[in-house]
């Protein structure tokens, strides 16, 4: 056996990149809530460009390369178009509050229900199975169109895509777990002009999706305790409400930010709100709305059966009233109070009429 020592090959190294690191010497420290996205907004890494020139998909704050390919034709590259002040918190909250429809819903509490009640629940579940992933499909599309310089906002949208997949899934599971089945689709979210899907501007989409659409659904989910027939359904609506509240918060905070930083767009936003308000109670996208079949199903559930439809319908009117009230609160919080005071919005009158 040879005793000669094997001399390893020596390789040339290209270390030129080591002289081109971005800002150096950064030490973000975890706080009470761990190491959050807010904690790493530090030094130049916190600098948010008002207009992003990042067309290569580089992480914000990294060193650009002159020869990098311009693969990111980002439509959303102006901060005001997508930004909100609390994105990092909403994202961290989303991570903390993930749940599993397979194991966190007490499915064993489902018990056979009278046919009319089971049908009503299944119609509602069909509606949600159909519409919940609008809020997954559409934000997903906007992630791909947004510069990674605004990663905090993009990450919130990524969490929303995840949440909506879970909502789509939990309602399908409920429809197929208690002796029922799926029923007739609503068609409420199809390709009509002025719909969430077809918006060609992020804020227009967000106004429709987050403020009016999900806002109305959030009010309803919060009432799940009233129309849920067992702990499984009540848990399902409560957990969905938790997620939905984050999505609505995104819309409110974004609108507030846009109103402050791009005042020239305020009138345009008012127009989106005009359109949204026409549909708020009348439209089919609101499961408690006047035109939707699901509102009949809701009245059955709220009454505890079709024999108590009238009582259920009265409770439905209360839900609609709350939808209007909460909608106004959100729009006021977003900084668009005037429309409720200058007669532009029909909502105060609708609200008064339901008193």
């Amino acid at each position: 056996m040879s005793e000669a020592t094997e001399i390893p090959r020596e390789h040339e190294l290209d270390t030129s990149w080591m002289d081109n690191m971005a800002e150096w010497g950064v030490t973000a420290k975890p706080g009470k809530r761990g190491l959050t996205l807010a904690d790493v907004q530090i030094g130049s890494y916190a600098d948010l460009p008002a207009i992003s020139d990042n067309m290569t998909g580089r992480p914000r704050g990294s060193t650009p390369r002159a020869e990098a390919y311009r693969v990111g034709a980002y439509q959303v590259h102006t901060l005001s178009e997508i930004w909100l002040d609390n994105a990092e918190y909403l994202y961290e909250e989303a991570l903390q509050r993930q749940w599993s429809s397979a194991t966190d819903i007490p499915w064993h509490t489902l018990k056979p229900l009278p046919d009319d009640v089971e049908e009503a629940e299944c119609l509602l579940c069909t509606f949600f199975n159909e519409v919940e992933f609008v809020a997954g499909d559409v934000p997903a599309r906007w992630i791909a169109r947004t510069t990674p310089d605004y990663l905090e906002a993009r990450n919130v949208l990524s969490a929303q895509v995840m949440d909506e997949a879970r909502h789509m899934d939990v309602f399908r599971k409920r429809a197929l777990a208690n002796g029922g089945g799926l029923m007739r689709m609503s068609g409420a979210t199809s390709g009509f002009v002025g719909s969430i899907d077809l918006a060609r501007d992020f804020t227009e989409m967000s106004t429709r999706l987050h403020i009016s659409g999900e806002g109305a659904v959030l009010t309803m989910f919060r009432m799940g305790e009233l129309f849920g027939q067992n702990d499984a359904e009540k848990t399902m609506y409560r957990l969905c409400a938790q997620d939905e509240a984050r999505h609505v918060a995104f819309g409110v905070m974004h609108l507030r930010c846009l109103g402050d930083t791009a005042p020239e767009r305020r009138e345009e936003i008012e127009c989106y709100l005009d359109e949204a308000e026409e549909q708020l109670i009348a439209g089919q996208q609101n499961p408690a709305g006047r035109q939707s079949e699901s509102s009949e199903a809701l009245a059955v559930l709220l009454g505890g059966g079709s024999q108590h439809y009238d009582e259920g319908h009265k409770k439905l009117l209360v839900i609609r009233r709350r939808q209007l009230k909460e909608y106004m609160k959100r729009v006021i919080s977003a900084g668009f109070t005037d429309r409720f005071e200058n007669g532009r919005s029909p909502i105060p009158a609708q609200y008064a009429a339901t008193a």
Binding site: H11, V26, L176, M185
Partner: protein, 362 residues
Amino acid sequence: MADKPSGKAASVDREAKLVDPTQGIPEPSYSWRGLTNEWGVKVLPGAHGLRLGDVNVGSYGEVPDYWADQTRRPRGSVGRPGIPPLPYSLRSKHELWADCAADLYEEAIQRRWIPATEVPWDSLEVLPVDIEKAVCQMCTELSQCANTELEIITYWQDRMSYGYFEVKQYLATATFDCARQQEVLRKRALSNGGGLGIESRGRVNRIILESSGGWTEAVVYLYLLRGTYITRLLSGLLSAAHNEAEVFIYSHMLEDHARHLTYGYDHLKYASSHGKDATLIMQTLLAVGEGHMAAELNEGVVSTAMAIIFGGGIEGARTHGMERYLLLVRDFITDYLAICQELGIEREKTLHPVFKRYLENE
């Protein structure tokens, strides 16, 4: 005994009593009652809860080869005529399907993790500058890879028909995984006295993002070609981790990435056995893609950064660090060829010469 109404319920009860009786209550039509394709379905939860795949029963579990419906009609529900279509362009099963999608969806949810609070950040200790730079450069590089994955998935996601919702739902978890990867890599780079590095030139990112002909074509580049390499990079980083925080980060990224590859390979398997000329198309794509991958492998940034990490510094990088990296690349190409063979894609005979050289490196 009925539950006593809680505060919220009681207040709605009170308000309901105050509803103006002159408003009238419309007569319900109940036109929706009885409208179902299949009734009487009762799926019970199993040992792992009530999973997405469990509810694929009866007609609800029938996944057609072509989904003509361009609305959001849930699979198995009753349609409604006259609904304007949405631009769902992926309507054939072979364009996106993978049998494992429903299981991967549930697995992703069960294996969720939280960088802010679960990574033991307090285990980070100051590293020699050359090593910290190498780690930070890898964080920058991998973050850009995750960004590419995120952007290509979200580009295709809303083009996928509702009939194949399992895939859409699984990809929603992958979207979230990619966002989390970008987050955790950024946190690692900015928490130990370092910073981000230089961006990637983006050769392979480019071919992934420009594969707009179909989702399958994107999967070929994203998972079969680049994803297989990333698995080896993450395994290498895990084996050379400097502290518990890095062990946690790389091992959890590997778990996520393994799911992504499982979907990717499974989809390609389905596509290659059901799509016309699919394996020939994949072969052509890979012949082109290998060239770009080879050029990226030959660039010095990742190889040097990995060699420094493996070699424990620049000096070690020149010898055993780089040797270990070259073995990593050899292992990647070996894996890649094995998967191609499994999928029936011929690559060995016409393998890119640079790939061959890495394979021959002993």
